[in-house]
Assembly symmetry: none
Amino acid sequence: MIFQINFKSGMPIYLQIVDQVKSAAASRALQPGEALPSIRPLAEELRVNRNTVAKAYSELESLGVIETLPGRGCFLKENQSALRKDARRKLLIEDVDQAIVQAHHLQVSRDEFLKLIHERLDVLDDKRHAHEDLKED
Amino acid sequence: MIFQINFKSGMPIYLQIVDQVKSAAASRALQPGEALPSIRPLAEELRVNRNTVAKAYSELESLGVIETLPGRGCFLKENQSALRKDARRKLLIEDVDQAIVQAHHLQVSRDEFLKLIHERLDVLDDKRHAHEDLKED
Amino acid sequence: MIFQINFKSGMPIYLQIVDQVKSAAASRALQPGEALPSIRPLAEELRVNRNTVAKAYSELESLGVIETLPGRGCFLKENQSALRKDARRKLLIEDVDQAIVQAHHLQVSRDEFLKLIHERLDVLDDKRHAHEDLKED
Amino acid sequence: MIFQINFKSGMPIYLQIVDQVKSAAASRALQPGEALPSIRPLAEELRVNRNTVAKAYSELESLGVIETLPGRGCFLKENQSALRKDARRKLLIEDVDQAIVQAHHLQVSRDEFLKLIHERLDVLDDKRHAHEDLKED
DNA sequence: GTGGTCTAGACCACA
DNA sequence: GTGGTCTAGACCACG
């Protein structure tokens, strides 16, 4: 599990961790039942306070994404519950709109924007496959 | 100038405004010397406290991006350097990637995702036109 | 409203505050609708961090004892049921018993103990009056 | 030696044990040279982790109150000086004051409070005698 | 001025 | 070693 924290974004660090765990779970980079990094080592790796990681994990637990066994560790839950289709759509629209508004602010044309989308879809797909290949070793 | 505020992201609202003004300035969507929206109307439009917009503008002024002429308004400074195309692209890629990762997390297929993109491009285009029509009144 | 914080007891400060507010509410010493001390001034008076008081108030709100209007202050809820006399008695018995047990551990005789009680009643009464006099200025 | 642990008080368990040993020692209720309960049985009796009792004893040892003879047990140190009377008094005052403040919060009058004190003195005296009778069996 | 949040350090209970 | 809690400082949004 690899984390990439952006300290300057203004987005709370604990939320960045939450999102990345959710992403990893969604892409099966993190398998159901698999252990997440322990709080203390992860905090050291990210150069962050223990509590910041703890808060992220606590948030993930209250979201039902992970389950934490005190003294044992934190584990991805088996029964990942999917959101209803329109709820997922609403979440996704937020991120899509932000990208579109950014494109507009940067005066990227519609065609350039769509071309970029396709490029990134391909790039991220490749990354994901490479990651899954690694785990098979 | 169109703003898109995400209240749930955890990113400070005033920073979201700052970033969007900087993006618009970086691409010359906002021209040097051009006036920014006044604090009070913008605060109303964004459903945000006036202090929050004022803080964003104050931040932008201390960054040298805009200048405030008391009683006149806020204007983009003359000596703003436009970012090169690949720098702008990099900014945009961040937002695009986030949307893609979110789509993947929500298990939205590539085709559904692309369809949503087109929908939102149309919706936001309409909004923008309506907005410009209003201004012409 | 008088608070008595014991920093060496090991009992969390925020819980000491919670208990004392609950006690005052239970006996109508604090009236429904009445404002509690604001977080910052109270924190200063008690020589405690703002967050410690905030946590106490937050706990009280989740218990339904007070209600907090952001930007306005914290107020005792209207539908606060006064504890019946025997319930109040039960609360008090806990503290009385602890003092008695301590006296026994310290092998303080019954008469010495009673004498001490009267002394402290007088001392604390004087303190309280001094406090009320201050408020009348 | 009888211990009374309050799990809800928020006061660290190991400190509750430390305080009770110190109180008993301060008043010679626990005699110099006398053995303390062994860690494992005491932990079981109190329904607490052995580490917690061990931590209390370790704290007491570093305070010079007890000494640990490996394989033999823990014993109250010989040179344990009973606290002077005014020091014991100070300890007691803390508990007395807390009871008085609680009474004030609950708007219990001085007379009612004093009546309650006498009642509890009698009740706890009876309990104590019953307990000592048990031990004689 | 009000309350709320994020990050951090130190400590606790437990396996 | 594990996760959990309490206290604290700095910052945010809002009236």
